[in-house]
Amino acid sequence: MSDRKNINAILIGNPNTGKSSVFNKLTGLKQSVGNYPGVTVDKKVGSFKLDKDTKVTLTDLPGTYSLNPNSIDENVVQDFVMDQKNVNNTDVVLFISDIENIKRTLLLFTQLKDLKLPMVLVINMADRMKKEGVSLDLEVMKQLVEAEVVLISAKTGEGFKDLKNIIRNYSRIGKEKLLELTEINPLLFGKFNSDVPYLEWLKLTKANHDGNLEYLKKYDLDAVEVRHYQQKEIILRHKLINEIVTKAITRGEGVNQLREKLDKIFLHRVFGLAIFFGLLLLIFQAIYTWSAAPMEWIESGFASLSEWTKGTMSPGILNELISEGIIPGLEGVIIFIPQIAFLFMFIAVLEESGYMSRVVFITDKIMRKFGLSGKSIVPMISGTACAIPAVMATRNIENWKERLITILVTPFITCAARLPVYLIIIALVIPSASFMGVSYQAITLLLLYLLGFVVAIVAAFILNKTLKTKVKSDFVVEMPNYKLPLGRNVLMTVFEKTKSFVWDAGKIIVAISIVLWFLASHGYSDNFNNAESIIAEAHIEENLTPKELDKLVSSYKIENSYIGTFSKNLEPAITPLGYDWKIGIALISSFAAREVFVGTLATIYSVGEDEQATIRSRMAKETKANGEPLYNFATGISLLLFYAFALQCMSTIAVVKKETASWKWPLIQLFGMTGFAYLTALIAYQILK
């Protein structure tokens, strides 16, 4: 019998040290993303085999600079290593450092070491050592840090064999502490009667951070003293680190010329911003050009799939549910996979390359005028994909007011979910002609994007004037080295984010499609139940073919179905906006998620329809009572404005609730944004009609 063995390893390190590259290199595609209990920080777990019988389970903790909690991501790491259960379960800790920033990264390393964890110091980017004139004495290093040390390169793959060997022999890894804590204050640290005195100290700093002053009293301490000792701890650690680095590493007079050269361009007072906006334009241009073709394939693919299902499956309720409910609903989400994936790709490239930090630097002053921070740029760009990751990306904004304003205005940014709505309405109401080579439709889309940004900025400005909180800024942003993004990392990020987006949105959409289909094909009134005889009677003189009669029956049925009855009652509120009861249904269901709009209309228009056509051509055929097309210019613009401003996304509301820890802000957002949307749509329609 073979004894199968599982080794539990965790991956910790500073941001920008190539931690995710190491994770991807080790685990390949064998990884999954979950959440830490109570917080929406991604928890990545992967696995790989050392040999036939030995499996390693690797948990990737978020990148952090120290165990002193400054942000939510850091809290996660602190909570993880302070939990005795996690510590007992951990066989080995792979600490990812990189050769250029080893001094800074060792701070966290020494802290973890003092928690008596089985540490391995993994020094990444070894391939750059020679070029930069750095050399490291491995044996000296091992002695000084009292841990295993290994040089690797996630890029070239060197050193991974050694790393795996160390993991295999994890039981030999030492667990000695490095810092003599009593040096900070002999009296206080002498009081800690524990195997791991540093853990006691972390509990104190955590209590201080959380405002739990009762706990501090146990040791006769106050907040000022705790902070003072924290500083002293950091100073002592830096002293220790300086000794280590001086003894083990020799550094030539290498200047990072790439950093200097690129900074001169990207941070230029005039060109810096111009380059940034130019890049944004290029990115959006690329997203549209590249995704046009795949989107067409998806569209026509779904049309034929629906037709095939309808023809192949035996007729009946299941056939109807699938071909008229689920398939059109799914199309609504799958259609924008190409755009989302490209957008996530560009964001990943900008982040990985180190350019994003430069954007933070050049925009900070301007953004502050609106109550935002340079760090709001990343959430706002991510917002063009989806508000949910964008709201989560605000976590590294230290200033609460700037963070809150960023969270509140980000949903105004045109997200990918609005795109299908925009695209279909634009195609219906904006002429396809072009002006000096640029099509009106493209200009409209660009204007809608700009509108989102402008309204977000104006809303931020107003919020900044109304919210009267004064908080210290503590804005500290690392400016990482420039590096060529690893294709593998970018692809993994794109795959993961697109997958979870499509999965989350898909679940809602399929559920809503089914409910809608049910509500649209069932009714309670006599009118609904006797539709056949009522229609037959009304048209008795017209000599209609059975087919024509069927059509009239089904549209009469929808009108008198559950949802038709409900939406008709809603008409007085939406008629002034230029909508009919069918659009009303789509509008209501979009409050779960905007992208449901197109799918809903598809479901409603296709219920009872024989021939399959694209959603767009079905919409174009819709007419008002007087025979004019329903989707005219005024109604189209009114719809575009409504979708631009209304907060129609349950997931955003949920994530804002989580991130602000209150219902107050998401509700203000929901009513503020939707009220504003209603007003602008109303005004636009009344002027244009």
Binding site: R104, L107, Q231, H238, F361, K365, F475, V476, V477, P480
Partner: protein, 75 residues
């Protein structure tokens, strides 16, 4: 003199006696008494500023920069 008074590329040393007013993160990055510091780039009106301290490159705002006291390194 503070870090805001330095010229770009001028090598200096942090001389703060007390670190109480500095963000903890900056201290973690090694902005301590005796650490080497220099300005890499000023944004217009010296806000924010991009510095190299203890071999780490960071951007900070003017209000934090005002609190970092420095003295120019003599060669």
């Amino acid at each position: 003199m503070t870090v805001l008074d330095l010229k770009i590329g001028e090598e200096a040393i942090v001389v703060n006696e007390s670190l109480e007013t500095l963000p903890l993160k900056l201290i973690e990055f090694g902005c301590l008494q005796g650490s080497a510091i220099e300005v890499v780039q000023f944004a217009p009106f010296k806000d924010p500023i991009y510095i190299k301290v203890n071999d780490t490159f960071v951007a900070i705002r003017k209000d934090v920069g005002e609190k970092i006291e420095v003295t120019i390194k003599k060669n």
